[in-house]
């Protein structure tokens, strides 16, 4: 495997935009009940047509109850020296509570995996100066990706992890033995990249702190979005749309504190024509959002699902060039590229619908579930 790296800070001349189409599915048990990883594997396998064996991946939330308060760093290494350098770096900036090889099934149909490690780390209050803890973690994980040759952080959130690699998603899921994990939210992604360079780090989901993103489509506005994010110190090193989506959501929701109803108006803004017709109060807000965040409008075909420890959101572009289906069944909320894959694991959902273009399908844990640490196991 190879790790594309910046040759210089001038992205324009070196990076190559990665173009991919895909299948996605995610579900959240809003009561925080736990499901093992076999369901999500089954669901994504149903959309095999949407991937071509060049990438698949999963994100699971609630999978590390024993280390729920530590940042779980999932690392990919090209070689031992990358591991040594990275571990020195992590030691320097964090206190490592546990370090282990991520268990895998060597008989699964994946080839040439990198070295896969995970670390559960605490942040010492003294190391964080002039920034908040989450910025500190984000900054350092971006630094690993940017600076350490042959090392890649695939996720760094709490009580969550991202498992991804080159192959069909169901094979990647088996390789990572996901049936051994239990989580309340699962996302998955099957990839159909149109450039052939499959590399493990470039697969999806993309993670940033607790955020995980799976994405289908191509942002025709990528260059605009990316250059705007650079002003807020997000370095888009992967040249993928998914990275841009994650950074945008992070900026808008975590840093600028926008609720999802406003975020949808930024990334899939209503047309000016519609804004002009809105009732005055709404018009003022929507116009302000578009004026301030115009460069973060996602243009071109996309649907994506993004989740953190409490929320899961699905959205398509404003003229709905890519599919998204929503379903609910009891406490479980489903988002998928295709209805069939939802029915594969939930044959008779109580409700099923397709949201309008640009309208977010957003859900979150039940209030009671947010505070409790329920460990009840429900296998599906």
């Amino acid at each position: 495997m190879s790790f594309p790296k910046h040759l210089s800070s001038s992205w324009q001349l070196h990076g190559e935009k990665i173009i991919a189409a895909c299948g996605l599915i995610g579900f959240m048990n809003r009561d925080k009940s736990l499901t093992d990883g076999s369901d999500i594997i089954k669901a994504i396998a149903n959309m095999k047509e949407r991937s071509n064996g060049l990438g698949g991946g999963f994100a699971g939330y609630g999978i590390y109850p024993d280390h729920a308060d530590q940042y779980a760093f999932h690392l990919m290494y090209m070689d031992e020296s990358a591991r040594v350098t990275t571990e020195e770096f992590l030691h320097e900036h964090f206190s490592i509570v546990a370090a282990e090889i991520i268990p895998t099934d060597p008989t699964a149909h994946v080839h040439n995996p990198p070295l896969l490690w995970r670390y559960f780390v605490d942040v010492e209050a003294a190391s964080v100066v002039n920034e908040d803890e989450s910025d500190y973690v984000v900054r350092l994980s971006l630094e690993v990706n940017d600076r350490i040759e042959g090392a890649f952080v695939s996720s760094c959130g709490k009580n969550m992890g991202i498992f991804k690699g080159v192959g069909y998603p169901e094979d990647v899921g088996e390789f990572f033995r996901l049936y051994d994990y239990k989580g309340y939210t699962w996302l998955s992604h099957g990839r159909f990249p149109t450039n052939t360079q499959g590399w493990w780090g470039g697969c999806h989901p993309f993670g940033l702190l607790d955020w995980a993103v799976v994405h289908n489509g191509e942002l025709s506005s990528y260059g605009t979005n990316m250059r705007h994010l650079e002003m807020y110190d997000y370095k888009c090193t992967l040249m993928t749309d998914t990275e841009v989506v994650a950074y945008t959501i992070d900026l808008l929701m975590r840093k600028h504190g926008l609720p999802i109803e406003m975020v949808e108006k930024v990334i899939a803004s209503p047309l000016w024509e519609a804004i002009d017709r809105m009732p005055e109060d709404e018009r003022v807000v929507t116009e302000a959002l578009r004026r301030v965040y115009g460069p973060l409008l996602f243009n071109g075909p996309f649907s994506f699902i993004i989740a953190d420890s409490e929320r899961m959101i699905g959205i398509t572009d404003r003229i709905r060039l890519r599919p998204l289906v929503v379903a609910t069944h009891g406490p479980t909320y489903y988002l998928s590229s295709e209805e069939a894959s939802i029915r594969e694991i939930c044959p008779e959902p109580e409700q099923i619908w397709m949201p309008r273009g640009g309208q977010a399908a957003a859900t979150e844990l039940y209030e009671t579930a947010k505070t409790t640490n329920k460990e009840e196991v429900v296998t599906g």
């Binding site: 001038s10 324009q12 001349l13 935009k17 173009i19 189409a21 149109t194 489509g217 191509e218 942002l219 025709s220 506005s221 990528y222 260059g223 605009t224 990316m226 250059r227 705007h228 650079e230 002003m231 807020y232 840093k255 600028h256 504190g257 926008l258 609720p259 406003m262 803004s269 047309l271 000016w272 024509e273 003022v284 807000v285 116009e287 302000a288 959002l289 578009r290 004026r291 301030v292 965040y293 115009g294 460069p295 409008l297 243009n299 071109g300 075909p301 404003r318 003229i319 060039l321």
Partner: protein, 503 residues
């Protein structure tokens, strides 16, 4: 003194087609044509012809043709036709060579970078969008934007309280003063800007009382001579533009000769009739960036912080740090006018040798403002040689918020780029204060031509957006990934932030 220069042009009057109507004689304001009563034929004084083509266009039988003088100049790479003519002219007059319009140097020596940039389109992996079926949005807001939206305790959005102005198309009319151009041209611009939902710029010459009603579509300019500047003028438009420099004459002031200062001009410029209107090279209250800040802030104070304040500079070598200083001095809009920018009058030596191409200046300024994290604080407007909708689209992709067009607007009204604006004899009635010549521009028809031009370009920009698979101009702005360079060296590509075609 006899001129050693041969005439530049030759007028051919096809005698078999000519009906002796005399339209050409009446139309020529340069005294190059005459009706010879004795021979009953039209004769040309080639020496006076400036090749403005007015006579040829208005000849009802199309009997007139104009050629470059065929008299051979011995081919010489260094002592060219132009070099010899200029020396002759100066040897005969001892003066500064004057010219008008933008830099005319050939693209072989002075590349037009727009022509080395190619736009992208979507195929398969992202679909193109059909502008005939889907809405395409060009609306553009100029003005300073906060980095983040403010939300109060109740979760309500506080609307940004900074002034802004909405353009329905990202193309504005550049500063051209009443004095440099005629009242009818000003009125044409005002009407067209109103119709198209954009802005026109008064230039430094005040605003005629009858044009105040178009204030919602007006930019008022404050330049070094401060002509026509007073309280009501500052409040008349949407934006106040402080003109520091101009691409056609960076570092040079302006001079409107007394002969042009008639009653109307005197009224709007607020100077006595017949006096020269001299705009000094610098503003005499702006000798530093902190002085500029004071001027910006005092204009804001004078207008109750309701107007945008723009600062216009010529694209010079250090444009990027200067632009950064302007942003930090509190301007809402930075205007950069490139090497090929037009003018009514400029010393040829300045026009053709000072400044840098707008494409490079724009790329450098946009990069610098982003590196410093202050790109949101200002809008960037560029001008200087924008010829068509593709130039507009490329400028926006490089990072501009909007563009100004000056020469293109005048061409829409008849200008043939003969580069004789400074003579005040414009046969098309554009750059003259001769009241007879001025009648050649009818504001109703003129505004229709200008509006048509903006409409045509806007539709083309929508086509470009649709082909790229985006439906809002925001998604093109600064999107240099949708540009590729052809025939450019590596260093230039780096400055433009654009990859070579094929990569």
């Amino acid at each position: 003194m006899i001129s050693y220069s041969s005439p530049e042009f030759e007028v051919e009057i096809k005698d078999d087609l000519c009906i002796r109507c005399g339209a050409c004689v009446v139309n020529c304001s340069f005294d190059a044509l005459e009706h010879d009563e004795d021979d009953d034929r039209i004769v040309a004084n080639n020496r006076n012809c400036v090749d403005c083509r007015r006579c040829a266009v208005f000849c009802p039988t199309l009997a007139i043709n104009i050629y470059e003088n065929g008299l051979a100049f011995r081919k010489h790479g260094l002592w060219t036709n132009r070099a010899q003519r200029e020396i002759n002219k100066q040897a005969e007059t001892g003066g500064v060579l004057l010219t008008s319009c933008g830099n005319e140097l050939p693209s072989t020596t002075h590349p037009i970078y727009w022509d080395h940039l190619l736009l992208d389109a979507s195929q398969v992996t992202n679909p193109s969008i059909d502008p005939l079926r889907e809405p395409m949005e060009l609306r553009t807001y100029l003005g300073s934007k906060p980095d983040a939206i403010e939300i109060d305790d109740q979760g309500k959005v506080k609307a940004p309280n900074r002034p802004s102005v909405a353009l329905e198309t990202p193309i504005m009319f550049a500063a051209m003063s009443f004095g440099a151009i005629s009242y009818n041209v000003h009125k044409s611009l005002a009407l067209a800007a109103t119709e198209a939902g954009t802005l026109y710029n008064t230039g430094e010459g005040g605003l005629h009382p009858s044009l105040y009603e178009y204030g919602d579509n007006t930019i008022v300019q404050v330049a070094s001579g401060r002509y026509g500047v007073f309280d009501e003028y500052l409040k008349a438009g949407q934006m106040i533009e402080i003109k520091v420099g101009q691409g056609a004459k960076p570092g040079i002031g302006g001079h409107l000769p007394g002969e042009k200062i008639d009653a109307e001009i005197s009224l709007t410029r607020m100077i006595p009739e017949g006096t020269d209107a001299i705009s000094p090279a610098p503003h005499h209250d702006v000798y530093s960036i902190e002085d500029l800040r004071q001027l910006v802030m005092s204009l804001k104070e004078a207008t109750n912080y309701e107007k945008l304040v723009a600062v216009k500079i010529a694209a010079v070598h250090n444009a990027a740090p200067i632009a950064s200083g302007i942003a930090r001095a509190g301007a809402d809009v930075i205007v950069i006018d490139g090497f090929r920018g037009g003018t009514g009058a400029t010393p040829t030596v300045i026009r053709d040798n000072v400044g840098i191409p707008i494409e490079l200046a724009l790329a450098a300024v946009d990069d610098r403002l982003r590196q410093e994290g202050i790109r949101n604080q200002v809008s960037v407007v560029v001008s200087g040689g924008i010829r068509n909708s593709a130039d507009v689209a490329k400028a926006i992709a490089l990072g501009a918020d909007a563009v100004y067009i000056g020469t293109a607007a005048l061409i829409a009204l008849g200008c043939t780029v003969c580069q004789r604006c400074f003579t005040g004899k414009c046969a098309w009635g554009l750059t003259t204060q001769d009241r007879q010549l001025n009648k050649r521009v009818n504001p109703e028809e003129g505004s229709e031509r200008l509006y048509n031009l903006l409409r045509g370009w806007s539709i083309e920009i929508k086509d470009i957006l649709g082909a790229m698979g985006v439906n809002a101009i925001e998604s093109l702005r600064g999107n240099r990934l949708r540009l590729r360079g052809v025939g450019l060296d590596e260093e230039t590509l780096k400055i433009l932030g654009v990859r070579p075609a094929g990569k």
